[in-house]
Amino acid sequence: MENLQCQCGHTNPPGTKLCESCGRSLTEKDQNSKLVDMRYEGTARRSQTYNKSIIDKIWNFFSSVKVGVSIIVVLLVAAAIGTILPQQAFVPASTEATIQAYYADTYGSIGRVYHALGFHDLYSSYWFIALVGMLAISLVIASLDRFVPLYKSLKNQRVLRHPSFMDKQRIYGSGPAAEDTLEKAETKLKELKYNVRTDKNGLLAEKGRFSRWGPYVNHIGLIIFLFGVMLRMIPGFYIDESLWLREGETRAIPEVPGYYLENKGFALENYTGEGGEEVFGEALDRVGTVAKNYQTDVVLYQNSEDALPGAADSQEVVAEYPIRVNQPLKFDGYAIYQMDFRLDELKAMTFALTNKETEESLGELTIDLINPVDNYELEGGSTVELLGYYPDFSGFENGEPQTATPLPNNPGFLVELTTPETPEGETSFITIQNTVEPLGENDFKLTFLSADTRDVSGLTVRKDSTLPILGLGGLIFMIGVAQGMYFNHRRFWIQQKADGTVLLAGHTNKNWFGLKKDLDRVVEYASLPAYTDQQDEIDKVEKAEKEGETLS
């Protein structure tokens, strides 16, 4: 492509529509149109100018707004697909196989396809991240490609424009005027807070140029935001782990080395409708129970500096804190939130050793399901010896009792009962509401009396070092929006020819009504010739033509 030489002598880069210097239309199409296209001041988008190397080709691809919008549309559709079924992080399965089975079992063939296509982990799939990345590239390149020429053009704009530029502006007027018109217009425009520059027989009044940078500031905000999101993927910046902590348990906090958390107790409080809560009575009657508080009382421990994982006596208490909803335990950049709970997991079971025939009790024993011991002595000289403990009894395999999990969901005990009457002992296998006597009929049995339970707190461990970056990105984004939306870039060009004729043109990027109001005041004060809104004229003609068509 060749550079374009304007009649005024200025050399313009190829692709330029309006001469950078005088404003003459450079293409035939523009010369013939009634109004000039003022987007980007008629400058050549840089990408349009050269298209040679592979770098230029990639650059030009991303510079296109069409491409940018297409990427956004594809992203929107993909993001929407990701919401059709729950993402894998939210399904109650943890391994690859169980997750796959969960989708197939719960959602049938749709779930199977969804999983097969990888939509169960859509937002961290490489192609989704690549799409977001392409959007970022598009934002950067499209902005640079437009901002740089626009900035240069506005910085270098001349006061005097060619009449053909002026009469193709939407706001245009011409006519005779007095000699002091220009000076008076300048005074009034300055009063209206315009920056006024004069050159020979012309003036250029300008206001709010910074509003033109709005979209680019906005894009900078978006880029910073995306950068923050990108940091989340980098280890150490973002942690979101769940921790199920049973009452009485102390556990190492996942992803937080050296710290331990003990659950001192979980409490769920409901509104009672009594004691000052009578006002809620009606609502409670209508909806039933309403939770008032979820609370886990925790103790936070930290390993002393040189202590190793597993060392028992090296933990120091850092904090004791009641974690409640929206009142997380905060320490060292981490926060632990109350997220979930499970009530009443079995903790201990109390039995009576009874004579099957007489139903006479020989005493009671309580088995701690978390930490059972192997021998329980009863008062009357009887003993219960624990031979085997299966916290989540799931059946027998080769005559051997099995446990499915380490949690006491369905405890099974293999016990030997020794009483003064049966000193050789009787063996019995006990599960909830069932007793098996593998070695023959017994005289004694363990009768279930009561159970103690404990609650489980579902906690979330979170750290997000990217929040300030996301906040900054959001703020800059909003500044850019306000800059572009609430301010307008207004310009007036006024020239007085030697014969006294005044040419008058105006342009704004938005809010033509406001521009005309400003201009009306200047026209009145400086007795400028009347102007017309040429767009209105065109619209009127088009409307008339249309009506004419419908009539004929």
Binding site: N3, T11, Y50, S53, I55, D56, I58, W59, T95, S124, Y126, I129, A130, G133, M134, A136, I137, V140, I141, L144, F227, M230, M233, I234, P235, T250, R251, A252, I253, P254, E255, P257, Y260, L308, P309, G310, A311, A312, I370, N371, P372, V373, D374, L386, L387, G388, Y389, P391, D392, Q402, T403, A404, T405, P406
Partner: protein, 186 residues
């Protein structure tokens, strides 16, 4: 256009090409890095072969302390397990036999139970007649330090204290024998 303007134009072109290449390279590198990180996010906290094995100290069923660094100079066969885990139970007898064979050659086995009660672990050890030390990770802190997910997981530590191999899932007796051979001191 006059003669002097030509080199200037070429300069500008070169500058532009360099600028564009740099900007594209930075952006593509950032995206590539993000995708790489996201793809490896699952494994990122996991230990890798060649890493220094995190030191720890745990107590066995007899009340003896076992500190990993005390075994430096020996190969250590760390087996994470639980009584509910069937493959763990299956490989225990083979581990025990191989321990008998290799214990005089400087290979130590530590079976690390995940936070179960003394009673359960003791009766399991008795049932299988385990001769190697069985320790209990009461607070799951060692499990966390080693980022153990599925059970059983076996971490082989060589005599230098570095991780030689990480095995998830059940091992055959031949596997175990081969692994012990790998970490046997020279």
């Amino acid at each position: 256009m006059d003669e002097r303007a030509v080199p200037q134009k070429n300069d500008k072109k070169k500058k532009r090409a360099v600028m564009r290449t740099i900007i594209l390279a930075i952006l593509i590198a950032a995206i590539g890095y993000t995708i790489y990180n996201s793809a490896t996010a699952e494994e990122v906290s996991l230990l890798e072969v060649g890493d220094k094995a995190p030191d720890f100290t745990l107590v066995d069923l007899e009340g003896n302390d076992h500190k990993l660094s005390d075994y430096e100079g020996q190969g250590v066969f760390l087996n994470f397990w639980g009584t509910w885990c069937k493959p763990c139970a299956k490989e225990m007898p083979a581990m025990d036999r191989q321990y008998e064979a290799f214990s005089n050659d400087g290979v130590q086995v530590l079976a690390i139970n995940i936070a179960q009660s003394d009673f359960e672990v003791q009766s399991f050890a008795d049932q299988y007649g385990l001769s190697f030390p069985v320790v209990i990770d009461k607070t799951k802190s060692v499990m966390t330090a080693y980022s153990i997910r599925p059970l059983p997981t076996t971490v082989l530590v060589n005599p230098d204290g570095n991780i030689q191999r990480i095995v998830t899932g059940e091992m055959t007796e031949q596997d175990i024998e081969g692994f012990m051979e790998e970490i046997k001191p020279e």
